[in-house]
């Protein structure tokens, strides 16, 4: 169903959020036993699992670099992740997003500590409702930290967009499809560096500035959730031990 209005008279969006609200999220760490590091994120209806393997021996050997490690990233959408079945073969969009996610993560990783090795990042989208690339980046950095890979900072990402001439944070599927603009932003929050900035649609310079500030607010919130999720596993064991005697 296509809503006739993406923002109603009260200024609320299709799912009842205010323009500056992001969807509720949940991050879990270490959900996959066989991966070196893993994370699961829910951002509204968007659900993504990320698995990290490595650093491990580079295969095929020729992709290895003598002075630093290599990051390989695969973003893929499950065939059941969207309303109309998606063909499981990697689409043009998925190949591009794999590169975009890799480049958003690379600045955070101390790759020079692992020459001649590969770090594999697999992001599997289970359900897509807008913001899958940003959710993948957010979860991937948590999974990298869970794998014990040295990072300069965690990377958190969120999209801002323009819907009926209003700037909104964290677009959902409908807003993404029928809105006028979409601008995903990924940051290393503690250091204040932006590692990904894309935009489609049109933004005035003033809208861009304001959009970036809104994204930054949401990114700080996600960052808190990332930190909490990473610590939770270890704190739970500590609690269990102190209770069990």
């Amino acid at each position: 169903m296509i809503p006739s209005k993406l923002i109603d008279e009260k200024g609320l969006r299709v799912d009842g959020r205010k323009p500056e609200d992001m969807r509720s999220y949940k991050i879990e760490v270490g959900i996959l036993k066989n991966a070196d590091g893993s994370a699961y994120i829910e951002l509204g209806n968007t659900k993504v699992i990320v698995a990290v393997y490595g650093p491990r021996e580079a295969h095929p050997k020729h992709i290895a670099l003598p002075d630093r490690g290599v990051v390989r990233c695969r973003y893929s959408m499950a065939s059941f992740s969207v309303a109309e079945r998606k063909s499981p073969s990697p689409s043009r969009r998925e190949i591009e997003l794999s590169k975009v996610i890799r480049e958003a993560l690379e600045p955070a990783i101390f790759l020079e500590e692992f020459p001649r090795t590969v770090i594999d990042v697999y992001a599997e989208v289970l359900e897509a409702d807008g913001g899958t690339r940003t959710a993948s980046i957010t979860a991937a950095s948590v999974a990298l930290a869970d794998a014990g890979i040295p990072l300069r900072d965690l990377v958190a990402a969120i999209a801002v967009g323009k819907v009926e001439n209003t700037l909104v944070v964290d677009l959902n599927g409908i807003e993404d499809q029928y809105g006028e603009g979409d601008m995903p932003v990924a940051m290393m929050p503690k250091l204040g560096y932006i590692t990904l900035l894309q935009a489609d649609g049109s933004f005035t310079p003033e809208e861009f500035e304001r959009g970036l500030a809104m994204a930054r607010q949401a990114i700080y919130r996600l960052y808190e959730g990332q930190k909490k999720a990473l610590r939770r596993k270890y704190l739970e064991i500590a609690k269990e031990v102190s209770e069990g005697g």
């Binding site: 490595g54 930290a145 014990g148 900072d153 270890y234």
Partner: protein, 230 residues
């Protein structure tokens, strides 16, 4: 010049540790004269000393480490050994025999074949080439008996304990032999299957609870209660 973390706190990558004149060790980096953690780890703060201990991670070879490896390939003059690391170990023929010997490939696999486990030592590693191993020293060589278990390599120091206290306690309490490889592989040698099971359970417990204080006492109580319970 404050310290922003407390003793035994769990830190995440990018977390600010301290600012100013401190002696920081382990998984950290400096940026704009501030110390940041670069790993998910546990901090130890003692006066001016701050240490960031990783909770998880891969084994990176270091010269002098005793590791447990598995032979994965037999070459013309060497063996390729999996040492549970991103880098594969190379064991040259010259590091097996003390005297110069000439042998053909077929006899190489008679000495060590694919699938064999060896206790070995890293003698050279500089990232640009694969680590070189030796089995020429005492206590090194092919593993003939025992059970192998694997833990996260970053937890090995806790299994060994301060100056070997933990591993010594385990060996004494259980009356068994344990060989700990720095790469997270541990060999348990005993004829008693019950003691073997208990040793595995204990080591897994150490791995799981390594970041919670009071580990040695907890492990001693665990082993004693299990021994009594039969």
């Amino acid at each position: 010049m404050p310290v922003y973390v407390s003793n035994r706190q769990i830190v995440v990558p990018g977390e600010l540790l301290a600012e100013g004149n401190y002696n920081v060790n382990g998984g950290f980096y400096t940026y704009q004269r501030k110390y940041f953690s670069k790993i998910l780890g546990l901090v130890e703060v003692e006066g001016n000393n701050i240490r960031v201990i990783p909770l998880k991670g891969k084994y990176i070879p270091s010269v002098g480490d005793v590791v447990i490896g598995k032979v994965v390939d037999v070459g013309m003059t060497n063996w390729t050994v999996d040492i549970n690391s991103p880098y594969v170990g190379i064991l040259q023929v010259t590091e097996v025999f003390s005297k110069p010997t000439s042998i053909s490939r077929s006899s190489l696999s008679e000495i060590l074949n694919v699938g064999d486990l060896i206790v070995t030592k890293v003698i050279a590693f500089d990232y640009s080439r694969d680590p070189l191993l030796t089995i020429k020293e005492a206590k090194l060589g092919k593993v003939t008996k025992g059970t192998l278990i694997e833990i996260t390599p970053t937890r090995v120091p806790r299994v060994i304990g301060k100056k070997g206290s933990m591993i010594k306690m385990l060996k004494e309490l259980l009356q068994i032999d344990i060989i700990v490889g720095k790469n997270g592989r541990i060999l348990i040698i005993t004829d008693d299957p019950e003691k073997e099971t208990l040793a595995i359970l204990t080591i897994k417990k150490i791995e799981r609870e390594a970041h919670v204080s009071g580990l040695t006492d907890r492990v001693r109580n665990f082993v004693l209660s299990r021994l009594k319970g039969g």
